[in-house]
């Protein structure tokens, strides 16, 4: 699997490259600036890109902007955005095109390399992975008169885990239920959110989107 890595701090970039190589990924290019990232994404069209939000030269959200710009040209280009902090605002912007293949994680999640690599693969497959912090903050907000309010507490739990990019089997494990039960819950979720039957991955993305917009 070919990967482009964009991170301006040498130590972190080097660490990421080594971690990914240890897990059998092929590093196409490791870049350190926004413009370089934009170019690398469009020339290499990697299977997945790992992008730091803040990049030089402006040291603002240049990485995010470069990723979004590349995704406008290549819809669905899988991008996993890493950051020292997570903002729901940025999560929404990443999800807005509804094309899937996006992830948004805190940099600390790299510590747990198994989970991180799993998330990376999920994004490469076109899935959506949101940091638990993004998801948990949503739980703070009061449920309002929106489609998500129609979900049962259990269904909301399943949806939250879905937003974190977990597969049905992972959710089943986490909630101590059978995979079949999870599958039943997700069908019910899709129905309540008025998501027409289609490819399951896409529906998951849309469900997460509905959830985040709540």
């Amino acid at each position: 699997m070919r990967v482009v890595v964009a991170e301006d701090l040498f130590l972190l970039r080097d660490g990421l490259v080594r971690l990914l190589e240890a897990h059998g990924f092929e590093i196409t290019e490791a870049v350190g600036t926004g413009p370089a990232l934009h170019r690398a994404l469009l020339t290499h069209r990697p299977d997945v890109a790992i992008v730091d939000v803040r990049l030089p030269p402006s040291f603002t959200d240049e990485g995010l902007q470069a990723a979004l710009a590349a995704r406008r040209k290549v819809p669905g280009l899988p991008v996993l955005v890493l950051s020292q902090y997570v903002e729901q605002l940025y999560a929404r912007e990443l999800l807005a095109d509804q094309a899937g293949g996006v992830g948004y994680l805190l940099k600390d999640r790299v510590f747990n390399d198994d989970q991180f690599v799993e998330a990376l693969r999920a994004v490469a497959r076109g899935g959506t992975v949101m940091d638990p912090e993004v998801v948990s903050k949503l739980l703070v907000r009061r449920a309002r008169d929106e489609p998500v309010a129609r979900l049962s507490p259990r269904e909301r739990e399943v949806l939250a885990l879905m937003a974190e990019g977990r597969s049905n089997s992972a959710i089943a494990q986490r909630l101590f239920v059978t995979e079949k039960a999870v599958s039943k819950h997700s069908t019910s979720i899709f129905a309540k959110l008025d998501l027409a039957p289609s490819d399951d991955d896409n529906r998951r993305v849309l469900a997460v989107l509905a959830y985040l917009n709540a």
């Binding site: 902007q65 605002l89 009061r142």
Partner: protein, 464 residues
């Protein structure tokens, strides 16, 4: 004489012009430099008029020198002096007109009552050419050339009740007015000594018969009106300016003290948070790793557990650092500016929010930060104290003022004087001359308006 006056005036104006560049803020455009010199430019023309009216004597020459000096050395008070001089000229003219008027009536009555009279002094009325009192002033008739004679005594002419001969009427009147003017002169410019030379202009004005006071009066009114018109634009304006500056200085010292206190307290908080938080965790992390290092050889299992623990600890340190950074300067604020930072803030608030943000560019960073934390505080209050279910945020930048209105549907009763939160916000905004207005009747709704004067910086160029 005229040549010297002209040269002097030109030199003064040129020097003042050269010096005006600093006062015009270094601007080279002649318009702004004339503006910087202002009404002070009138000073020299006034001195010329005075010289013309009163003739060339030590007083008027002194006035011209003074005017030139003030224009060059103290341009700030030149305009004030111009206003004062105009008023003095006007008052002088009023007095002169009054004297002429009174004299004209007295002479007319005398002329009516006494048909034959005797001249008390010698050398009166020598035809049309010269008219002068015995010890008084000599003025050539209407030709604009004045000659000096020894100063006259205080007004004694015409002595009332003493029969006077009947001179040719016009000559008599001209003589009387000239005498009066000379006396008036003596009152106005007592130190002028023997050099007093009433101007031909006055002679012409006063030579016009009993109605001679009219043109003098008109001239006086013009001077007076112009002088009075200048007063609010010069003297009073400066008084008001001084008042404004005084209160401004007071306010600035207050807000500066606040700003310094706030910054110091903030640094103290950051120091404490780092000391008790991330720093302590990093120490513990190092100790765990060291222990793991020792245990590796003997009990790898325990060492592994310690390393896992260390990783947990680094995660927690990161979380704490993240929260700390958010409290100092939220990253989204640095990345995107106030508009998106408030959008992000609204997304994190447990209360439903409705946003209307019109902010086409970035603001100065300190203002962005102050405004952001103000909105954060107001939102937190709405969620925590007001039990609001819906908050509306309107943000607009117009006419160099940032205006934010936050309205909630909560229970109201908020008072900035009660909680320290809003007061802190008020103080922080005060550093930028910003204000915080809270309208929160019991029962709600609460409306908080924040206004900060600030310029909109150029649109942020987004990288591609």
């Amino acid at each position: 004489m005229g040549f010297v006056v002209t040269i002097f005036s030109i030199v003064c104006v040129v020097v003042a012009w050269l010096k005006s560049r600093d006062r015009a803020g270094g601007s080279r455009s002649w318009r702004s430099r004339v503006n910087a010199m202002g009404w002070g430019l009138l000073l020299l023309p006034i001195a010329w008029i005075a010289m013309w009216l009163f003739g060339v004597n030590p007083a008027t020459v002194g006035l011209l020198l003074l005017s030139g000096a003030v224009l060059v050395m103290a341009p700030v008070i030149a305009a004030d002096l111009a206003a004062v001089l105009l008023i003095l000229l006007g008052l002088y003219g009023l007095a002169a007109a009054f004297a002429v008027f009174k004299q004209g009536r007295a002479v007319a009555q005398t002329a009516k009552a006494v048909s034959v009279s005797v001249i008390p002094g010698p050398a009166f009325a020598r035809g049309k050419e010269v008219f002068a009192s015995a010890k008084g002033v000599v003025i050539s008739g209407g030709q604009g050339i004045a000659t000096a004679v020894p100063r006259p005594p205080r007004a004694t002419f015409p002595p009332k009740g003493i029969p006077v001969p009947h001179p040719p009427k016009a000559t008599f009147l001209q003589h009387a007015y000239a005498q009066k003017i000379a006396n008036l002169h003596q009152m106005v410019v007592p130190w002028s000594g023997p050099g007093v030379r009433p101007s031909p202009w006055y002679a012409a004005l006063t030579g016009a018969g009993p109605q001679g006071y009219v043109p003098v009066l008109l001239a006086a009114f013009v001077f007076l009106a112009f002088g009075l018109w200048l007063v609010p634009r010069t003297l009073l304006a400066r008084g008001a300016l001084v008042g404004r500056l005084t209160s401004r200085v007071q306010r600035l010292s207050e807000t500066r003290t606040d700003a310094v206190d706030t910054a110091a307290a903030e640094l103290r908080r950051v120091e404490r948070d780092l000391h008790d938080g991330a720093q302590a965790r990093l120490v513990a992390l190092g100790m765990s790793l060291r222990a793991a290092e020792r245990l590796f050889a003997t009990s790898p299992g325990a060492a592994l557990a310690l390393v896992g623990e260390a990783r947990e600890m680094s995660s927690r340190a990161l979380t704490e650092l993240r929260d700390l950074v958010r409290g100092i300067h939220p990253p989204v604020l640095a990345d995107r500016g106030l508009g998106d930072a408030v959008r992000a803030l609204a997304l994190e608030t447990p209360v439903a929010t409705k946003l209307d943000i019109d902010l086409p560019g970035r603001l100065a960073e300190p203002v962005e930060s102050a405004a952001y934390f103000a909105v954060a505080e107001v939102l937190a209050n709405a969620a925590k104290h007001a039990q609001a279910r819906m908050v509306e945020i309107h943000m607009l930048h117009t006419g160099d003022v940032l205006r934010i209105a936050v309205t909630d549907d909560g229970i109201g009763g908020a008072d900035p004087a009660m909680g320290s939160g809003l007061r802190g916000v008020e103080r922080r905004l005060g550093t930028f001359d910003g204000i915080l207005a809270v309208n929160s009747p019991p029962g709600g709704p609460t409306i908080v308006v924040i206004e900060v004067p600030c310029a909109l910086l150029s649109l942020k160029t987004s990288s591609s």
